[in-house]
Symmetry: C2
């Protein structure tokens, strides 16, 4: 990524999972991460060391000479900090990575802004292959859109345009397909742990469940007692959960939801 | 699989997804499926044609000369039919495939019986690679255990011993990790469809979510607003679900369950 003949100069605002993975990938793609900002010195210094760059914990010490500021903060911090981040840096392009925050966050603060939403689940302990991560982009204008498309295109072939309204729903849909699906694994692991069985035995089923929806719609792929309305099996399962009222309630409500959405 | 020098002769009771996939795999593994039984003529004849074997829709016409009878029926049918299935075939080995039904189903009906539980999600439209399917086996005696271990071992390297109590919990855990996880995909697809976005964009995230739990425990792998207790994001998501009270309730209860189980 170049501006003229020079590599694109990026400041990363945030040093959490998204900033960490994105920072490494941007650097691998030829961008220059010139600084990391985080309120927490340890996170900032760790990520800066990984990227061999500088860091600051003070908003006023954030450099003013970068081309793009990528803001990957928790949503509340993002909204609280945006005006301070922009001040004195109004010529740059500011983007945030949070799927659920509308682009209007930047309106009136500076002329060039956008959203760069990588729809993936980022954990510190696990490397991310950005080539399979879809990026959803929104921009204040055509020029900004081109810059962000080129930036994202360096990381992934899956670059889409999505406005703030679509992105809100994308983010909500991602919570179901990723965060909530993962929690179903967690509840499964808890049930197995009660019997001394490692979650490992479940992995072939976890994988096949994910693979199936590459070929079938999730509704077509649905199996199990709820979609068959096999009341005997469900009753026995509910008995096993007698000491876990919260789990029992989830079992009942999800089963009902499955049945209500079964294929005609 | 041989009994003496002859291939093992198997009758399949049932012609649903499990019977279909298991029948094909057994035949590929050198077993002889000598007959298919199903109450429904169409299912029975279709599976019999696939396996180039005979079929019947009458319990009294089920052959009496097989070595193993594999019963892959819906749980209610299995319990209702077991005594009739066994009658006149008391010298054979009877096994059922339903994870949630205890082995005691066969007690008093005949001397040799067991359970052969392939823990996988079977859909008619999709081939199954049995080499990745874990089989959980229980048997009335050591001889039956050896036979079932050899039978399952022809299909998969993942053969485990599990008693009826463990299997009940395995089945319940599988409902969470597979059926309920898949329903989270279905709800995600529904949310996307409302915006005209194909579920396809979610597949990299679905895959990564499944892959992550190969390396991290599901609780370690948990990401998203619920585990961060990001109340602003969750409130905005609940607003998006204002017209979907059942979905809204699921969102709230699953988020609460995630937060209650977060890593210390």
């Amino acid at each position: 990524m170049t501006a003229g003949d020079n590599p694109m100069r990026v400041v990363l605002i945030g040093a959490g999972n998204v900033a960490t993975h994105l920072g490494k990938a941007l650097q691998d793609a030829g961008c220059l991460v010139v600084q990391v900002y985080s309120r927490t010195a340890q996170s900032a210094s760790e990520l800066a060391a990984t990227l061999s760059t500088g860091y600051t914990t003070e908003v006023e010490d954030i450099r003013k000479d970068a081309d793009v500021y990528i803001v990957a903060l928790k949503d509340t911090a993002l909204q609280a900090l945006a005006p301070d981040l922009v001040r004195g840096r109004e010529d740059a392009l500011f983007v945030h990575t949070a799927g659920s925050i509308p682009m209007t966050l930047w309106e009136g603060l500076l002329p060039r802004y956008g959203v760069l939403y990588p729809m993936q689940t980022f954990s510190k302990q696990r490397p991310v292959d950005f080539h399979t991560v879809p990026f959803f982009i929104e921009a204040s204008g055509e020029e900004e859109w081109q810059i962000l498309r080129e930036l994202a295109g360096r990381l992934s072939p899956l670059v889409y345009r999505a406005d703030s309204e679509q992105r809100k729903y994308l983010h909500l849909a991602a919570v179901f397909a990723c965060n909530f699906a993962n929690h179903m694994y967690a509840l499964s692991a808890q049930i197995l742990a009660g019997q001394g069985i490692p979650f490992e035995v479940m992995l072939p089923l976890v994988d096949e469940t994910a693979q199936k929806v590459h070929r079938l719609s999730p509704v077509q792929a649905q199996t199990g007692p709820a979609v068959r309305q096999d009341v005997n099996v469900m009753d026995r399962h509910l008995e096993l959960l007698a000491d876990e009222p919260a789990l029992r309630e989830l079992y009942e409500k999800i089963s009902k939801s499955i049945y209500n959405r079964k294929q005609p």
